[in-house]
């Protein structure tokens, strides 16, 4: 029996550290059924994420960032209309897995998530140490003693004093709670961690501290991060690559070094221009209009109505064009 338990843990611990991207998403589509129609939350999003790299997903609220994360982790509500595409984790198509296999082998073993408003994501009646160890205790993956030992290890990584394991969530400050959630996502030694607005509810100083911790984790453990945020300035802290979304679609996937200097897509340009900066003296602009409804999105380019570089071609939907090493969904880059 004991040996069997160990086997589950080993399997969960990504034996196949293959070459190639750790996460590859192809044409991922997620539609929701609503009383008023079908909400096209994520439409044909494809990208690759290499091991040890971090990808940030930026975009306005309602552009499908969180839905994309949930689609990758298959954390879906009941009103799903369409859910298709392929998600490869270490080269294995996990979309083909059944729900039970996905739960045992992928979710929170190889991929974990730090959810939005993680401040309130802790169970108030369990001790923090137990909650952090819980993913290892489920399905008898590990004995209690070993699991607690692991919890102590990850507490060390995220910088929470070990004594805090015996505390309850309300006894921790916001920053410490956020760290506990990050510890929880680390405990199964995942390959990919999805961070959904991990710092938006925190103070500036705490935010900077958490970002330092995440960078340290990335350097030391060689994890891949997917950071979802609408805060462009914060997103730059963890951006090896940037994926910009607009109205459910990927509009630009670029190298971080370039994206923050000269974004390609007109939407990315406008988005960058709207960020108030502290040190650089530049007057921020705003984007006129508002994003289209995802119930019935416009036919051509979805940004066309607000775009300052619009021309005739924009009535047709642009494909993804290659531009150097980056991809951009805009007719302006047709020539390549």
């Amino acid at each position: 029996m004991r040996r069997q338990k160990q086997a589950v843990v080993e399997r969960g611990r990504s034996p196949e550290r293959t070459e190639g991207p750790v996460l590859k998403v192809e044409d991922l589509t997620l539609y929701f059924r609503a009383t008023v129609g079908v909400v096209q939350a994520v439409e044909k999003v494809s990208f690759e994420l290499a091991r040890g790299r971090s990808l940030t997903i930026v975009g306005e609220s309602g552009c499908g960032k969180t839905s994309l994360a949930k689609a990758i982790l298959r954390l879906l509500p009941r009103n799903v209309h369409t859910y298709e595409g392929r998600v490869f984790l270490n080269g294995v198509d996990v979309m083909k897995f059944g729900e039970e296999r996905f739960r045992r082998e992928v979710r929170w073993t190889k991929m974990s998530m730090v959810s939005q408003a993680a401040m309130n994501a802790l169970n108030p009646v369990l001790k923090v140490g137990h909650q952090v160890a819980e993913p290892l205790l489920l399905d008898h993956r590990m004995g209690r003693k070993d699991a607690y030992e692991e919890a102590r290890r990850v507490f060390g990584i995220v910088g929470i004093p070990i004594a805090f394991m015996e505390r309850y969530a309300f006894e921790l400050s916001g920053g410490m709670r956020q760290r506990a959630i990050i510890a929880m996502s680390l405990i199964t030694n995942p390959d990919v961690i999805v961070l959904d607005e991990p710092t938006s509810a925190l103070d500036v100083l705490t935010q900077a501290n958490i970002m330092n911790t995440l960078k340290k984790i990335k350097q030391e453990l060689g994890l891949s991060f997917m950071l979802i945020t609408h805060d462009i300035a914060t997103s730059s802290e963890l951006a090896d690559e940037v994926l910009c979304m607009y109205a459910g679609q990927l509009v630009e996937h670029s190298d971080g070094q370039r994206f923050y200097r000269e974004p390609l897509h007109p939407y990315s340009q406008k988005l960058m221009a709207s960020v108030p900066t502290l040190r650089i003296d530049r007057k921020p602009e705003f984007i006129p209009g508002q994003p289209p409804s995802l119930l019935n999105p416009p036919k051509g380019c979805r940004f066309a109505a607000r775009c300052h570089k619009r021309f005739e071609r924009c009535d047709e939907e642009p494909p993804l064009f290659e531009h150097g090493e980056d991809t951009v969904k805009c007719w302006l880059y047709e020539e390549g």
């Binding site: 609220s61 500036v204 100083l205 900077a208 300035a233 923050y260 108030p276 502290l278 508002q290």
Partner: protein
């Protein structure tokens, strides 16, 4: 009395009493502890601070929603009695409030027309003036054409439009002061600037005083002339905006500025120099300077025993820190 002053605070303290089992006194939460400043007519001031630093309580005190424990607050030279309903009505006429969460601040069962009509009814504005005022306010915040918006309910508006509606409501009675509690923190980056610019324009057009409370330092320089930095219930640094951004004196302000990223690709490999720790408890604040447990430049024997008074190292630049003795 200088009539140019809209608001003048002297050593204002707002304490909340803590009780054990409902009747035994168990100390105070010192949410605002000795705040003084003057606000001239037509001046925009920003109060920056972390959550829990008491900035919202300070606003609530100004609005008369929290009772002053000690100190003096003068509105246009008038000392108000907060138990007198006539005084309170006058105060609420003169002060417009822009809330943080526009959706929470507008009743979901009222349409735009009704939401804007409400303050006019309460404050007994003559009936024939009301429609005109509503339309003007909507024009002012660029919810145009006004007719399209009058019959809409809050949920039919986007976040930016909702916030502009709240600004319109605050403007309706033509107050002399607007206080805004994190008016853009719930909005998307792309519309934040729009709402801030709108408020700035209105402030200039009507020569209003504005108190803008935020935790986001990077938006400060586009909005106000003066900025106050609040830490643990005190205003630790008071100066003009360029002073805060280019020449911060208090170690806390320096740390705060250091923590804010600008969107630059270099951030990826850069670790920030932020001392650990949390703001102190306001029930039992540390002795001496409240920042000393986290301060990298603390002077032993002084900072941890004596509370720093206000120093003025540069003209117009006030800082509560022993380094500038």
């Amino acid at each position: 009395m200088d009539n140019n002053k809209v608001l003048s605070l002297k050593g204002v303290r707002t304490y909340f009493e803590l009780k054990r089992w409902g009747f035994i006194h168990a100390g105070y939460v010192r949410a605002v502890d000795g705040v003084s400043f003057d606000l001239a007519r037509g001046e925009a001031v920003t109060i920056v601070g972390e959550s829990g630093s008491g900035k919202t309580t300070l606003l609530r005190t100004m609005l008369g929603l929290a009772k002053i424990t000690d100190g003096e607050m003068l509105f246009a030279g008038r000392k108000l009695d907060y138990n007198n309903s006539a005084d309170l009505t006058w105060l609420r006429w003169q002060v417009g409030f822009v809330q943080q969460d526009p959706y929470g601040a507008t009743p979901p069962f009222m349409n735009v027309h009704r939401i804007l009509l409400e303050p006019l009814i309460v404050n007994k504005v003559p009936k024939d003036e009301r429609e005109q005022r509503i339309r003007e306010a909507l024009q002012e915040v660029r919810l145009i054409p006004a007719d399209d918006f009058l019959s809409k309910f809050p949920h039919m508006l986007s976040g930016g439009q909702q916030q502009r509606l709240v600004v319109a409501r605050a403007l309706l009675l033509r107050p002399m002061l607007i206080v805004a509690d994190e008016p853009v923190s719930m909005l998307d980056a792309s519309v934040r600037v729009e709402v801030l610019e709108l408020m700035r324009k209105i402030q200039k057009d009507y020569n209003l005083g504005i108190i803008y409370v935020t935790h986001d330092l990077s938006s400060v320089r586009y909005f106000s002339q003066r900025a106050f930095v609040m830490y643990a219930a005190k205003l630790v640094e008071k100066t003009d905006v360029s002073g805060v951004v280019n020449n911060p004196l208090h170690p806390y302000t320096q740390m705060l500025l250091n923590a804010i990223p600008d969107p630059e690709p270099e951030n990826v490999g850069r670790f920030k120099d932020i001392p650990a720790g949390e703001p102190p408890s306001l029930i039992k604040p540390p002795a001496g300077c409240r920042f000393h447990p986290r301060c990298p430049r603390k002077i032993d024997g002084l900072c941890d025993t004596e509370e720093p008074p206000e120093f003025e190292p540069n003209p117009g630049h006030f800082v509560e820190c022993w380094l500038y003795k």
